[in-house]
Symmetry: C2
């Protein structure tokens, strides 16, 4: 297939524009270099070796993952300095211990004293330390101990004071930047998360505790604020692909989005003024319901079309206004979907087709599961 046009692919197919991936990755690398902050790119969006190589500039060091399956996959392929940024799951402590004993630097994360107890119960061999990040919540409202709770400081002290355990850093995810519209709002969230994290670091310092700090999210790292220079690390991930959601937030332009789902017209339904396409929710996911005027995705080059609904293998497309001109959409013709959320679309595909300017270069195979 190499060298052939992407239009020769069977559909649905997820295609990755390698030039845009490299550009998105390089821009983030340079931005972080300029800030003097270590970039620890997140792998959750693509879960492939090839894209991880691009995001780490070939170093295969300093990554963050969302599942232990990703951690093992990268560890098995020569990656190291891996942060498993997920509140320590008690069923996976032994697997985490084995990775900690095997890699130069495997790092875990927690937000509760009970998790620290789990680590104490499983000391590492050969005098190795558990490298632990404390997750704090600076307004995101998902995981993490609230930055303002006395418990947060107590837990940091407990980690730092536990034998066999090292407090490696303080970690905050500013996923609340996904509610933003425009650079100003994004930077307000970036500023708030940074300020609260740095204040927390100061409080730790007062107790004689010095460790790293990291915040992240694609919106905030695409439009960083100056104070982020004081952080040790940032950990965005989605930016390597971007998506329609990020363009709506203001993280990127639509031209930066590196992934598409190719689909073909498989039905004409003039009695409903609709087309059927061969992309259902198995091809792009149900993420983005009600978020875009064009439905579950944007249809490239056809701003008047809406991906109205999907079943397992079918998508219903209708015009936003007016009657469909079926002569423009013959059966078998291709449509190109720009996903609402590339993380959600990518996870539906067992393989990604990589291209440059529409010519196929090869395939990337993501890892999956947990």
């Amino acid at each position: 297939m190499e060298g052939q046009a992407i239009s020769t692919l069977c559909t649905p197919a997820l295609v990755v524009d390698l030039d845009k991936v490299k550009k998105n990755a390089q821009r983030m690398i340079e931005r972080c270099q300029k800030m003097g902050v270590q970039l620890r790119p997140h792998m959750k969006t693509h879960k492939t070796l090839e894209c991880a190589d691009i995001m780490t500039g070939g170093s295969r060091r300093c990554i963050v993952v969302s599942t232990l399956a990703e951690a093992c996959f990268y560890a098995d392929h020569g990656f190291d300095d891996i942060l498993y940024a997920y509140c320590l799951p008690f069923d996976k402590v032994e697997r985490c211990a084995l990775l900690s004993e095997r890699l130069d630097l495997f790092q875990v994360l927690l937000d509760h004293p009970d998790a620290l107890q789990q680590l104490k119960k499983r000391p590492l061999k050969d005098g190795r330390l558990w490298h632990v990040w404390l997750k704090i919540d600076c307004g995101n409202g998902r995981a993490g101990v609230l930055h303002s709770e006395p418990e947060a400081l107590r837990l940091a002290q407990a980690i730092a004071g536990t034998e066999g355990v090292e407090l490696t850093g303080v970690y905050a995810h500013c996923g609340n930047s996904y509610n933003c519209r425009g650079v100003e709002q994004i930077q307000a969230v970036a500023q708030e998360t940074t300020t609260l994290t740095l204040q927390f670091m100061e409080k730790l310092k007062a107790f004689g505790i010095i460790c790293k700090s990291s915040i992240g999210s694609t919106p905030s790292c695409s439009h960083p604020v100056k104070d982020m220079e004081q952080l040790s690390e940032v950990h965005p991930g989605n930016y390597v692909f971007y998506d329609t959601q990020q363009s709506v937030i203001g993280s990127c332009s639509l031209g930066d989005v590196a992934v598409r789902v190719l689909t073909r017209v498989i039905g004409h339904c003039p009695h409903r003024n609709q087309l059927l396409i061969d992309c259902g929710w198995t091809g792009i996911s149900l993420d983005g319901a009600g978020k875009l005027p064009t439905g579950y995705a944007m249809i490239e080059g056809h701003p008047n079309l809406k991906l109205l609904s999907m079943t397992q293998e079918h998508g219903r497309v209708e015009p936003i206004s007016g009657p469909l001109d079926y002569s423009k959409y013959p059966l078998g013709s291709m449509l190109t979907l720009i996903p609402y959320h590339s993380c959600a679309s990518a996870v539906m595909h067992p393989v990604y087709h990589v291209h440059s300017e529409g010519r196929l270069l090869g395939k990337w195979t993501p890892t999956c599961g947990w």
Copy 2:
């Protein structure tokens, strides 16, 4: 892992109750035998060899699939008499031709004259015939030529009159039964679809055309009407697993649902009166948004809990009313989700864990992609 309790699994994990699967499958086999109608079970829900064996009573014959990947997977493992019940995708005609030339009986489906032209352009070798089902729409509103359109009869005649092509049957999917509540409404849809299909068969007969007829959907085949005895085949699929959606529709009782997603508590958020669990949309899918009072799933044994929202690897759970008693949900404790839509949840899992009465028996590995 065999013989161990399912509670030892790492989470999220999709578990399949083999006893319920066998019971659901056997009940459908017996129901169809009693009706004198051929059961052609749909594979789209599970996509595994093991479950296909159970659904076909070990014959490995007479199945229906939703993707060509499924067709190839089953063909490669000794299955035959396979109906690819998806409006002939023009990019996959050659692969369909190869399956038609290789299997005893590979069958395709179409609803448009342009698709028939595609078959004519690719005659099969050795005098083999394309076995073609005509898809008609009897009110479902997705694929299929409208049963009432003169075009439907013309297309049937064209298929029957084309050299190298055989009109094998007429196929209607009554997915509109998913809008029903209760047996009465389900049977009204089953009756209407059956009546319209049989009327269409009569019209064909008047033109001297005799072929098979098939309707399907889990609700209608779980509560068949007498006239369905006049059909050649039925083609339900989801019934082997069932799910919360089917219990709400009235296809089954909640006790019949054979799949669960196991998850664990990974966070306590008393400031939000929430728990975090390790099942995000990668573990159960976003299907069912806004459909259940308990959110994206039911949480077995905890009717007051709601799966409120999910991100990639996190689920937020809150009580429907009152404050959470965190002592009942310690970190690391397991919760059991009954999926809203088992087809959508199963497709998220690279492996299913099969058990009997909570003791692991082994793993099933589904096929994936297209």
